[in-house]
Amino acid sequence: MPVNRIILVDDDEISNFLSISLIRKIDPEIEIIPFRNGKEALDYLKNEGLSKRRSNLILLDIRMPVMNGFEFLEEIHNSDLKIKDFMRVVILSSSDNPRDLERAKSFEVLGYINKPLKEESICTYLKLAG
């Protein structure tokens, strides 16, 4: 099932503006829901859950105030939310700290995109997740 919803978790408004424009250009059908930090996204996921009829991809920044990307992943991992079994996460960050990369690998994520988001990388992960 091709991805038809992207949950974008990033506190950088301009980056979100660019990511959203890019994804719209690639596929205007995909629904994009932006959140400014892990906490907001987590609250949403807890309340709404991930509808099984939708195929979701989460684009997750690492450095965010309130709850960062890793804390978000940890919360999900330690929770009993059902979504953790079919959640597909791609890290989207401008961090080139090797420790961040290492840590990202310790979670079950689909991949790691170094910002800026480019057409070919988003297409690759849309295919992978689809």
Partner: protein, 368 residues
């Protein structure tokens, strides 16, 4: 019998010992063999000492005393050989002379030993040395650990700073590409505005970085008597706008008026704590900030208490003071303030603690 060999070998009609008195052969040989045995042992010891000196020539203290001992023992050994020889060859002159030389060498050794004794007493025992070594090792390990921490701090700082510089630059790249591909005036205007935002973000980050660097290497020259109320006044003046919007009720209670401290450093500390209280106020109640100083167990304390948003410390205690980490995103901030405060306070040998409850308020207490 006149002198031959300066008279040393004359026997002057003395009888050999065997015929002087009634020696039984058992007693005689008992005496002779004992003499020889002592003499041989005395001659063996210098070889061992010599071997020891050669092997340890680089780190042996008091080498001259060792040589003196070698001479002393050789001389003593010789007296025993001569003593044994007297049984057949009664050269008492020779014996006397050797005893005389031995006496001199012995006294030289005594004087030499007395001279080095105070220094020798200073020599550390193996246990003492081991204690010294282990204290030093502990010190080294501690400073090594500290250096590692500083190093990893520095790493984090560089990565965090490069991240914060890279993000707006990435954004600008994307925005410019977008600008190139659009003919729509409205879109272009929006993009231009965002490019400006990104530029000012870079500038802000650079300012922050240079302020951190400044703090790391300030050599305080403005140390003196600093009055807390003055510093607070300065801080509030510099934040007139923020104060006007936050409309705080500020309660001052300076039980300790002043402190011997760097003016700039105290101001940075107060600045960050007070502006945090101003920024992270609660919309539900009027802001009240209590700035207090007090003295406890010879230390001066400064506390800044607010009734603002508060922080859930159960998970964030460590993150609170780390660089570029933030807990609220509704106001401008860089995640650098408390990091700097902690640095400043610790650099001066103090520490900072925090108590907070979500939606009740936060209290920072600095111990000087």
């Amino acid at each position: 019998m006149e002198d031959d060999f300066f008279g040393l070998l004359t026997t002057n009609k003395w009888p050999p010992r065997w015929v002087c008195g009634d020696w039984t052969s058992l007693h005689g040989w008992f005496y002779i063999l004992s003499d020889l045995s002592i003499g041989l042992a005395y001659f063996a010891i210098p070889f061992i000492l010599f071997y020891f000196i050669r092997k340890r020539k680089n780190d042996l203290p008091f080498v001259q005393i060792f040589w003196l001992f070698i001479l002393f023992i050789l001389a003593c050994g010789t007296t025993h050989f001569v003593d044994a020889a007297l049984f057949w060859f009664p050269a008492y002159h020779l014996s006397g002379t050797i005893l005389f030389i031995t006496g001199i060498i012995s006294w030289v050794a005594v004087v030499g030993l007395v001279k080095v004794l105070p220094e020798a007493l200073q020599l550390k025992t193996t246990d003492e040395l081991e204690t010294t070594v282990s204290t030093r090792t502990d010190e080294l390990l501690a400073s090594n650990k500290k250096l590692r921490e500083i190093n990893s701090d520095l790493d984090n700082f560089v990565y965090a700073a490069s991240h914060d510089l890279k993000s707006p630059i990435n954004n600008k790249e994307g925005l410019i590409a977008m600008l190139k591909s659009t003919d729509n005036k409205e879109v272009a205007d929006e993009v231009f505005q965002k490019i400006e935002q990104s530029v000012s973000k870079v500038r802000h980050t650079i300012d922050q970085i240079s302020s951190v660097v400044k703090i790391q290497r300030t050599e305080e020259q403005d140390i003196g008597e600093v009055f807390f109320n003055k510093v607070l006044e300065e801080v509030l003046e510099e934040n007139v706008n923020l104060v006007e919007t936050a409309k705080p009720q500020i309660i001052q209670n300076f039980a300790v008026d002043s402190i011997h401290f760097s003016h700039t450093t105290l101001k940075s500390i107060m600045y960050n704590l007070v502006t945090n209280a101003l920024k992270y106020r609660s919309a539900e109640r009027d802001l009240e900030i209590q700035v207090r100083t007090f003295s406890r167990e010879n230390h001066t304390y400064l506390s800044v208490e607010d009734n603002g948003l508060g922080i859930d410390l159960s998970q964030n205690r460590e993150k609170l003071f780390s660089i570029f980490s933030r807990f609220h995103d509704h106001v401008e901030g860089s995640g650098i303030g408390l990091f700097m405060v902690k640095r400043l306070v610790e650099k001066k040998g103090g520490d900072i603690s925090v108590a907070s409850e979500k939606n009740k308020g936060t209290t920072f207490t600095v111990k000087f």
